[in-house]
């Protein structure tokens, strides 16, 4: 099961590389004529999907009564991080080719990118502390630390909204999912209760 999930989760990246590997004329690329922009969108989309999927584990566990699914949450979170790293690397390496002055300026000057960067930076400690050792070492603090995901996910969705030029359809879907997932957690605090079997 775990291996199957790994294959599933890594396949978008492999698919991207496979298509990119077919590149021999930059102009007539499989990844559109502008592959760098394509990779940007592609990795961004998969990053946000995995983030939302990670947040969906707790509700799914309770709704479809499959408690074991929690086992896979860490893996999903790490794949989210993986795609964020690819997304960021694409920005730094392929798009701006280590032009640090411009990169820094863009991160500071463009609120959309600031939000994305904030989300990525916040995700880093979560990824680093995802090992068994760190979970043990941090104890209770680990859970508190990993609540930062409730900040990261909205930042990512805001970033998604701001980066899109005109067609807000996909970001709206992401926002809807985010609201449902956060709402599910907030609802009991606001006095609603779910009947559990």
């Amino acid at each position: 099961m775990r291996i199957f999930l790994h294959i599933l989760a890594i396949s978008p990246a492999l698919w991207l590389m496979w298509q990119g590997g077919l590149l021999y004329d930059f102009q007539d690329n499989m990844l559109t004529a502008n592959p760098i922009k394509y990779i940007h969108h592609y990795t961004g989309e998969w990053a946000i999907r995995f983030l939302l999927l990670g947040l969906a584990i707790t509700p799914l566990r309770q709704i479809i009564k499959w408690p074991n699914i929690i086992k896979y949450r860490r893996m999903i979170g790490l794949y989210a991080f993986f795609y964020v790293v690819l997304h960021l690397l694409n920005f730094v390496v392929l798009d701006y080719y280590f032009d640090w002055a411009t990169i820094l300026k863009e991160i500071i000057k463009r609120p959309a990118i600031t939000f994305g960067m904030a989300a990525a930076v916040l995700l880093l400690p979560l990824a680093l502390t995802s090992t068994k050792g760190w979970i043990r070492r941090l104890g209770k603090k680990w859970r508190r630390l990993h609540r930062v995901i409730y900040v990261i996910a909205p930042l990512a969705v805001i970033h998604n909204f701001m980066m899109v030029k005109a067609d807000l359809f996909v970001p709206f879907i992401h926002l809807t999912i985010l609201i449902l997932l956060l709402g599910y957690r907030l609802a009991p605090k606001l006095g609603f209760s779910y009947t559990r079997g």
Partner: protein, 324 residues
């Protein structure tokens, strides 16, 4: 914007066929289609194979094109495939590959253009009647998209000024306004209101009369592929690509500055003038540089996209930060 699965077979056929070969083949196919039914069905079969990638939709070869070279750039031209498969034409969807995929639904013949407003010769013109009186010219221009990528495209068309002179606007005409076709059946992207259809664009009269401004009917020596704005589109090389309105059905001579589609969508991001200007950033990204399609490193963006000699005088004394 969900990613799409391309069959590798779709594209490979095109990639291994050098542009010239397949153009010849296509012209040959059209000729044979004219010879007889048997040959025609053979050609249709060939067309089906080659047409596997919609970017390959056949254009008709245009005759009697003059080439003065006066305004041409000698930079490397962007491949036919890239020019015809990477498009912003939201009428067919907001993905870059949507236009090439869906534009075959557009029927470009016959095509009528309504001319109205402050003009001596208003009316509903057949496309041929608008174009034929003028000599077709090839113009190899840089095209700079507002999204910070660029291409070099050999357009075929007529100077807009020639057309305007013949239509003879009155002194009340200060601006010219263009409109794209609205037809949900032919343009599936219009089923959603991403833009308040019809797409509309405009130019100041002196911009419209500038010798660089082109009404294009073709590229690479052939009629325009639908995804590039067939059968008639505007090309204004010193402005961002979105000014180049496609599949035009209406040309109006007006006294007041018309509202444009992208202004309607986000006025603080897209202005009426939309001159290429490396010093005025888009609020969400820098316009100081761009990626030329086919190149890896970004290059510096040129003021007026490098056409300052021809156009800068029109904006003398204007604050281009305010009138972006």
């Amino acid at each position: 914007m969900l990613f799409k699965f391309l069959k590798s077979s779709d594209v490979k056929t095109c990639e291994i066929t050098p542009e010239k070969t397949y153009m010849n083949r296509r012209i040959f196919m059209q000729d044979s289609a004219r010879i007889g039914a048997g040959a025609a069905s053979l050609a249709a079969f060939g067309g089906g194979l080659i047409g596997a990638s919609p970017a390959m939709a056949a254009g008709r070869k245009l005759e009697n094109i003059t080439r003065s070279g006066r305004y041409d750039t000698d930079e490397r031209q962007t491949s036919y495939k890239a020019v015809t498969s990477y498009n912003n034409f939201y009428e067919f969807g907001t993905g870059k590959e949507d236009p090439a995929r869906y534009a075959h639904r557009l029927n470009v013949r016959p095509w009528t253009v309504k001319v109205d407003g402050h003009v001596d010769h208003p009316g509903d013109y057949d496309l041929d009647d608008l174009i034929r009186p003028h000599a077709l010219e090839e113009r190899i221009y840089r095209m700079r998209c507002v999204e910070a990528w660029s291409m070099v495209i050999p357009w075929v068309g007529i100077p807009l000024s020639d057309m305007i002179k013949r239509l003879s606007p009155t002194s009340k005409a200060k601006y010219i306004r263009f409109e794209t076709l609205v037809d949900k059946k032919q343009m599936p992207g219009q089923k959603r209101r991403v833009i308040d259809w019809p797409y509309a664009e405009g130019l100041r009269m002196d911009e419209a009369m500038n010798p660089l401004t082109l009404m294009a009917v073709g590229l690479y020596g052939e009629t325009l592929p639908n995804q590039n704005g067939a059968p008639l589109r505007l090309v204004v090389p010193w402005k961002y690509g979105f000014k180049g309105i496609k599949s035009i059905v209406r040309i109006s001579f007006v006294s007041r500055k018309p509202n444009t589609s992208w202004q309607g969508l986000a006025a603080h991001e897209y202005g009426f003038y939309a001159n290429v200007n490396p010093a005025v950033d888009h609020p969400r990204w820098t316009q100081a540089n761009e990626r030329r399609i086919g190149e890896f490193r970004r290059r510096d963006t040129l003021m007026f996209n490098g056409y300052g000699d021809e156009v800068a005088h029109m904006y003398a004394g204007m604050n281009l930060k305010k009138y972006y």
